[in-house]
């Protein structure tokens, strides 16, 4: 997030897109609701599904899945046409505006309506609300990014913020909501094929020198493969032969699981370090028992770049070891001994090679100070609510990290797979409130499992009627890649022609159906659009489960 939760409610208008915030980031969903209810702020939701947020949104724009680029170009065009652009901001702080304008101007409300299905009046009205706001912030999540044009979608969102000068001030900004507790931190730490810690490209000699000086050995400067590329390379000439996985379960989270299984099966050697025998660990040659969040010391970095302490509460079971201990012991066996007396010492070392963490240390974190990276000064401020803050809660205040903010506008590009006679529906996947990710943790919590015990698919009532499918009836959903059987929940949440399946349930893993098509830049899979067909199994109506999705 370019901004922080400290200043969230200073926005006058919230634009939320591709995020079912209430269920996937409940506390941020709650804060947005509070701003709308108690402070009279306006909310615009751009999302194909009816979600909890849409109940109190001033406007809900329901685009066809995968058409975000056109929608955001369209919003930008209306803002320009109506004289709502912040020309001073564009002149002083950005570049590339004229080139971008050429693309954006093609997206008239009529063109956008044709592509996205959003009535042009709604698009114009939403653009006016966002464009006229004194301060407006945009929030998004994987609904915007998990497309083959995910990067382009994000650029078109960012264009909108720059066009209106909604960046660098409290209550504004471009705010992607990170889905996992420490996905921000894992990126910060350089668990990426092209970047060392602190987003320093591996092919820049100065960056190589920085880590080599601290680590005392040579490191490779050639960028590596992303996760999805590694999986695709397995079993092929020159591909990955040996893999070390720590705390990840790609056999639930990868697209097109049947293909993924073939890939993992072709490995000569697979090591999985985890707390459970996950679907991936079952395929491993060696499984190393590790620790949960409650069994170790460390830090997580949240979606607002705030670094927070994780503390040991209980001992690990049996002979499970802390992950740091396993890595160090294995490194010693490999010929590079690593030893750290405490997690705090690891932080001290990583802060020395990660410029954005320069002043981060347990000394400050343990005092309960809100430390947001980039943190290059140890000075401590106090917010109006009395919270002590270190670092940078709001990014890009004076200038952008790269200097001038660059407008990048793109043409709309259709998704890889589109409904046809054989597979007439669009499948989009996501989360619900009750479970998390591949479910290896929450499916082992009896209370959560009781509340949401089984897989289901949300089906629009009009589609259900056409197919003669009743609520709670068992259906078979198939794509070109595989099929699953689960229960249909008939509702008005998805738009007609679209079905939604939460991907937490291994007994009907949604990723058996998803397509292994990647954004060319980010290599993110297109989880949000693929085509499927739905058929009755003849298994009949199962006992109605009033507990399948969000209450109300």
């Amino acid at each position: 997030m370019s901004n922080s939760l400290h200043d969230l409610d200073e926005a006058d208008v919230f634009l939320v897109t591709g995020s079912n915030t209430t269920e996937a980031h409940p506390i941020i969903g709650m804060q947005i609701w509070q701003a709308v209810r108690h402070k009279n702020k306006k909310l615009i939701v751009i999302d194909p599904r009816k979600i909890e947020l849409t109940k109190y949104a001033a406007m809900h724009l329901r685009q066809r899945p995968g058409t975000d680029v056109a929608v955001f170009n369209g919003l930008a065009r209306v803002i320009m046409e109506e004289g709502l652009a912040d020309l001073d901001f564009i002149k002083d702080r950005t570049e590339g505006f004229e080139e971008a304008k050429e693309v954006i101007m093609k997206y008239t409300p009529e063109v956008v309506e044709k592509i996205s299905g959003i009535p042009k009046e709604q698009l114009i009205e939403a653009a006016r609300i966002y464009g006229k706001a004194e301060r407006a912030s945009i929030y998004w999540a994987m609904g915007s990014t998990q497309h083959i044009n995910g990067v382009r979608g994000v650029h078109s969102i960012v264009n909108l913020a720059m066009l209106t000068g909604n960046i660098g001030k409290p209550g504004t900004g471009v705010n992607p909501l990170r889905g996992q507790n420490n996905v921000q931190g894992a990126c910060d730490m350089g668990c990426l094929p092209n970047q060392f810690p602190g987003y320093k490209p591996v092919n820049v000699p100065e960056n190589v020198e920085r880590v080599e000086k601290v680590w005392g050995v040579k490191v490779p400067a050639k960028p590596g493969l992303t996760l999805t590329e590694m999986v695709n390379s397995m079993g092929k000439e020159g591909g990955i032969k040996g893999l070390y996985i720590m705390g990840e379960n790609p056999m639930m989270s990868d697209p097109d699981l049947n293909h993924a299984k073939e890939s993992f099966d072709s490995l000569e050697f697979l090591v999985v370090q985890d707390i459970f025998l996950t679907e991936t660990a079952e395929l491993a040659h060696v499984v190393l028992p590790a620790t949960s969040f409650a069994e170790k010391e460390g830090t997580f970095t949240n979606t607002e770049r705030r670094i927070q302490r994780v503390k040991k509460a209980v001992n690990p079971p049996g002979e499970a070891w802390e992950d740091t201990k396993i890595i160090c012991a294995l490194s010693k066996e490999m010929g590079y001994p690593m030893e750290y007396p405490s997690a705090s010492k690891v932080m001290d070392e990583l802060a020395s090679v990660t410029p954005i963490y320069e002043c981060v240390s347990y000394e400050y974190l343990d005092k309960g100070i809100a430390v947001h990276w980039p943190c290059n000064s140890c000075s401590i401020d106090r917010t109006s609510c009395g919270t002590l803050i270190m670092g940078t809660p709001v990014l890009h205040e004076e200038k952008f990290t790269r200097g001038a903010g660059k407008f990048m506008a793109f043409e709309f590009q259709p998704s890889t797979e589109w409904p046809d006679d054989e597979y007439p529906l669009i499948l989009t996947t996501g989360r619900n409130l009750w479970h998390w990710h591949g479910g290896s943790q929450t499916r082992k919590v009896s209370s959560l499992n009781e509340r949401s015990p089984e897989p289901y698919m949300e089906l629009n009532a009009a589609d259900a009627k056409k197919m003669g499918i009743r609520d709670s009836e068992e259906v078979r959903v198939s794509s070109r890649r595989g099929e699953i059987t689960l229960k249909a929940v008939v509702s008005d949440r998805p738009t007609p022609g679209v079905v939604f399946i939460p991907w937490h349930y291994k007994e009907a893993a949604a990723n058996i159906l998803t397509i292994n098509a990647l954004d060319p830049q980010a290599k993110i899979p297109e989880y949000k659009v693929c085509s499927v067909k739905v058929e009755k199994t003849g298994g009949g109506q199962k006992e109605a489960n009033r507990y399948s999705h969000y209450p109300g």
Binding site: I28, G185, G190, M246, L277, P289, N302, L448
Partner: protein
């Protein structure tokens, strides 16, 4: 907002215009008991335990609802208000089951604390008690409204803070109770904010029932391991087992509020499906081994593959679940030992 001066118990204090007597007292460390008041909620003024005397006013007033005025002279502990508080407590206890030995709130119950503080013995109002059945249908919240003192904090937090409005007062007088629409079984987002607000044992965590007494636990402050919001958790631990999760209100981004996963999603830590020994695949079967064997075998295999196919035949997936420290060491391990940048994690998934 201007400032004005008031006197509490004979001492002078500066106060913000618009603040209440309770605000000023709390800000200056003066104890006034409350049950229905909470700084995150709208003012209710219902429990009448926070009565104080103000010079010039004919009767005691509730300090939580009374704004300060210029030169106000407040007394917080006069015999009159103490008598009133004792009466309020007697009235509450007259309709409260004294089952403290089996109540999860025992030891952290405000009614219990105040009964002790005001030395309430006996009860002038003993008589018929309400009969409200305990509801334990849902897996998360045990609702025992017989213990309810009708402070309304649960209904206000549900409505004003969480925006759900799943519960509200129903009926009148002696029959007043907290209820769902149509008195149906509770189905809400089960965030548990109502439990955290409940000053007595009317609302408790069902999975924690009979698992602990508050004084047997140690509390560990940590960060939630689910989504990227990063809520602060307080883990209550008894004998190496997490028995309850709450959250601090001060200095945290979530101000004491959690979602159902944050509050209840800890059971997996103690699952009997946890891995407890290294496993090595032998004759196609994953077989328990020693750490020594697992580590040396793993290192040998990785070295062999690197030698045979080159460094870029190896790769590592780290985890967005793991800590910064673990991720830092993992990438360092891969870059140094595998000599490749084939390194990624689940950020895209």
């Amino acid at each position: 907002m201007g400032k004005l001066n008031i006197k509490i118990n004979g001492k002078d204090f500066e106060a913000e215009e618009g603040s209440t007597i309770l605000d000023v007292a709390r800000a200056n460390g003066i104890h006034i008991p409350t049950l229905c008041h909470h700084p995150q909620l709208s003012i209710h003024g219902g429990c009448r335990i926070c009565m104080v005397e103000v010079k010039g006013l004919p009767k005691p007033v509730t300090s939580c609802t009374t704004p300060v005025t210029k030169d106000m002279d407040v007394q917080t502990d006069t015999p009159v208000v103490i008598k009133q508080r004792e009466t309020v407590l007697e009235l509450l206890l007259s309709d409260h089951p004294l089952e403290c030995p089996i109540c999860d709130a025992a030891g952290q119950c405000k009614l219990q604390d105040l009964t002790h503080e005001y030395k309430i013995k006996g009860n002038r109002f003993n008589g018929e008690k309400r009969k409200v059945p305990v509801e334990e249908v849902n897996p998360f919240i045990r609702r025992d409204y017989q213990r309810c003192i009708q402070c309304g904090r649960c209904t206000r937090v549900c409505d004003e803070v969480r925006g759900i409005g799943a519960i509200q007062f129903a009926n009148r007088g002696f029959n007043t109770k907290v209820s769902t629409a149509g008195d149906k079984v509770l189905d809400c987002i089960f965030c548990g904010s109502c439990i955290q607000q409940c000053p007595v044992g009317a609302l408790t965590e069902k999975p924690s029932k009979f698992k602990y007494r508050p004084w047997e636990t140690k509390q560990v402050e940590t960060t939630c391991g689910y989504c990227g919001v990063g809520c602060s958790l307080t883990l209550h631990v008894k004998k190496n087992e997490i028995v309850r999760v709450t959250s601090r209100e001060d200095g945290t981004l979530n101000k004491g509020n959690l979602c159902v996963k944050g509050r209840y999603g800890y059971e997996f830590v103690h699952s009997d499906k946890r891995l407890t020994k290294p496993l090595i695949r032998k004759n196609g079967v994953l077989t328990p081994s020693s750490w020594e064997e697992a580590l040396s075998y793993t290192a040998r295999k990785f070295k062999e593959i690197k030698q045979r196919y080159g460094p870029d035949s190896l790769g590592g997936f780290s985890s967005a679940k793991c800590t910064n420290e673990e991720n830092y060491l993992f990438q360092k391990f891969v870059r140094i030992n595998f000599e490749t940048n084939n390194l990624d994690h689940c950020a895209r998934l």
